[in-house]
Amino acid sequence: MLTISSIAADALAYGMVLFVISIGLSVTMGLMKVVNLAHGAFAMIGGYIASYMVQQMGMPFGIGLLIAVAGTILIAIPLERLLYRRIYGASDLTQVLMTIGITFAIIGLANFIFGPTLKTIPLPSQLQGPVNLGFRSIAAHKIFAAAVGVVVAGALWFLIERTPFGVRLRASVDDAPMAGALGVKTSWVYAVSFAIAIGLAALGGVVGAQLLPVEPYYALRYMVTFLVVVSVGGAGSIPGALLAALLLGAVNTAGRYYVPEYGEFFFYAAVIAIVSIFPNGLLGRAK
Amino acid sequence: MTTIFEVLNLSKRFGGLVVTNDVSLTLNKGDRVALIGPNGAGKTTFVNLVTGHLKPGAGTVRMDGVDVTADTPTKRVRAGLVRTFQVTRLFSEMMPEEHVALALLQREGRSGQMLTNYHFMPEIMSETYDILGVLGLRDVAKLPVSEIAYGQQRLLEIALAMALRPKVLLLDEPAAGVPHADTVLIEKALAQLPPDLAVLMIEHDMDFVFRFAQRVIVLAAGAIIFDGSPEAVANDPHVREAYLGSYADARSVA
């Protein structure tokens, strides 16, 4: 019988992985107002690159992680310039369709290049096995995932609230034409933010590979989950995304353990309830 | 002299900012009133409040004696309170003919019918083209609105308002964005409005105002500072101060 603390540990790890991946989507949606359904696909790409680097090329985990993040960003940059830039400000339906199209294409290519099987990312010895916390033992990679989440949250907060870039970012979110009139290069802010968002997705894809296994349909399978986290938390809100990710991680994990028959049902019922009462998300800003 | 529209002590604030400050006014049947004021005075906010698009903090709105303060915008339209928009709001892919027909169908309570077609309703078709004719839109009646001139779009807004047979009409800058040469057509259209209709027009074009209005109300910083004849408005000290600030009396110093 699994105890509350191990379920809590699972929920925390899962929630943190969701957060790290979804926060990028929250930024994209809050800033560029783009419903990017392909966001999960970039997390998947990160996972694939890391898996290839560590398994096929024999690189250490840390290096593989860095290459995965950098590689995914490199792939995303031309996509932003050629495709995403054309749909800023377009209707929701247009953005949904374009990004679904990108997702489909990425899934097809992933299968073409890597094949349909599941890919694992071998963890370094420090992250394998359980860690004895005194009262319980928890798998090291789960603690690692949680730690990464905390660091990301903190770093993002610092970036947005305390740096000049953050000021420009917030100005562009509030009123892009005005920010532009004041000399902020909004297209550059958008490009950098998009890169950061994608980089975070890739990071989450690698760190969460144990919980969200890497295979071609990953991009479609979790598309809805990331979207739900952002809309429940409120697009553009870091605390909102954190709250929503942890909440939904908890509901999902607890549901799976306690009421496995009805877990998904309650999950979606909860989503409907929350989004109906809080159409801008729990901590989102009213439009 | 029958009162058709009353606003009593209307107020609205956003946080610490008072945008509408205890505004009261009355319109009688057949009134031609202009609502003017410097930018940011709260004129469009006033229209949004009385039409129900914005909820007031306090105050009452009455249409023909009936309190409509709690009514939805749609209900107020059906009670006879119609507005036009400062920035044209039309259906860009539909034709003027369809716009006016739809307004007529709505007025007649037939807009929910699913199995009929307005082309087979001679009363609707003839009234549609009567209205379009009055506003000079017959020639463009079958073009998508996105393809007709902006001035004609403004006229279409007025056509829609007329089709709804309002008791009170609120015109939000009907000549805004229209080239000066074309404002004549809008004036002609306004001259054709039914004589017992009460009209309140927000405008900045003072020539237009003086040709149109028999009464002028001046709004500044959310409050009414003048309600009287067009002849008296230019010399009123409060009005001068609102528009010109402390320089209003500058001349007397020199």
């Binding site: 374009m98 349909p116 809309s231 | 699913m114």
Partner: protein
């Protein structure tokens, strides 16, 4: 009294579809009949696929109503289709109602009911929240269908649906001839009904809602109740599609009420062209046809092609194949028409 000094717009309006409604309708029905007849005689062993295409066409038509005409973007419309399929299937297997037309009717009612309930949830949101609500609705319905296995057969689905001969005369034969003809007749009837509805005052109101809700309210017309009515009609059409699938394939599975099916329906609609009814049918035909051809080779290539096609359509042909076709026709007309 009229004054044309205002504009430089041409006085000669381009012929709009509303000017010759009947001819266009007749032509459209004629095209459907021709293609159906061609399919019947040229592909006698493939009628099951063609019937499946017609069932999905009904789903995509229903989606066109809410998305193409009224502007409600939803990724949960398969819930209405699946509701119709399960309603018909349950009626047959649990209540012994096996007359095919009765089953279709029950499917329509089931779809309309779920449409009504969906609209209560979906119409409360805008933009992203509306999309997420629509996804949540279809997933919820899917989970309900999965769990209520006493009624729905759970993940195994319903099978053994055995419809009695159509009108008491036409047996559902092994080649699927009766099924196909029934499907085509149903499609034509629905198509005609929808063409009428779309051109009615109600249809105009929906198109207005898509363009500018504020303007609709300023005309004194209701927005929310109109959309709910539309959802009920859309649900009936989708339900008919689901019931048709149940009657003709004799099985109902969970895939008929899935997010994937909703997304595919949206893709088909956009490829064909929104807001034109015919585009919905064209997109479905092309999509499923190609899918049948390509995915036997490699399902992933299919995904890549569709993905690329979507991106191209969004960027270069936002009105889909129909829009591109219309533009082509207009360009050819201008070329041969000569002077303006």
């Amino acid at each position: 009294m009229t004054d044309t000094a205002l504009s430089t717009t041409p006085v000669q309006p381009v012929a709009t579809p509303t000017q010759r409604p009947f001819m266009r309708d007749l032509f459209a029905v004629g095209v459907i009949v021709v293609i159906a007849v061609a399919g019947f005689f040229l592909l006698p062993t493939n009628l099951a696929l063609l019937t499946h295409i017609v069932a999905v066409m009904l789903l995509v038509l229903s989606l066109d109503l809410v998305t193409g005409y009224a502007g409600v973007a939803t990724l949960g419309h398969a819930a209405l289709y699946g509701a119709g399929a399960y309603a018909a299937g349950i009626a047959a297997t649990k209540f012994g109602i096996v007359d095919p037309i009765a089953m279709l009717g029950i499917g329509a009612v089931g779809g309309a009911l779920v449409g009504l309930l969906s609209s209560a949830v979906i119409l409360r949101g805008h933009g992203l929240s509306q999309l997420v609500l629509s996804i949540a609705v279809v997933q919820l319905v899917r989970e309900a269908a999965n769990k209520a296995s006493g009624w729905t057969g759970g993940s195994d689905g319903l099978s053994g649906i055995a419809p009695t001969p159509l009108l008491g005369l036409f047996r559902f034969d092994l080649y699927g001839r009766t099924a196909f003809i029934m499907a085509v007749v149903l499609l034509i009837l629905v198509f005609i009904a929808l063409r009428i509805i779309v051109r009615s005052p109600f249809g105009m109101l929906c198109r207005g809602i898509k363009e500018d809700k504020v303007r609709v309210r300023a005309m004194g017309a209701p927005v929310y109740t109109t959309l709910v009515k539309l959802y009920v009609i859309s649900g009936a059409v989708a339900g008919l599609g689901g019931a048709l699938a149940a009657v003709t394939t004799k099985v109902v599975g969970l895939d008929s009420v899935s997010f994937e099916m909703s997304a595919e329906a949206m893709v088909m609609l956009v490829l064909g062209g929104t807001g034109q009814l015919f585009g919905a049918m064209l997109g479905t035909l092309v999509f499923i046809w190609f899918e049948d051809m390509v995915s036997t080779i490699n399902p992933f290539h299919w995904l890549t092609i569709i993905g690329a096609l979507l991106v191209i359509v969004v960027l270069f042909a936002p009105k889909g194949f129909m829009g591109a076709g219309n533009a082509l026709i207009k360009a050819l007309q201008r070329r041969s028409g000569g002077a303006k």
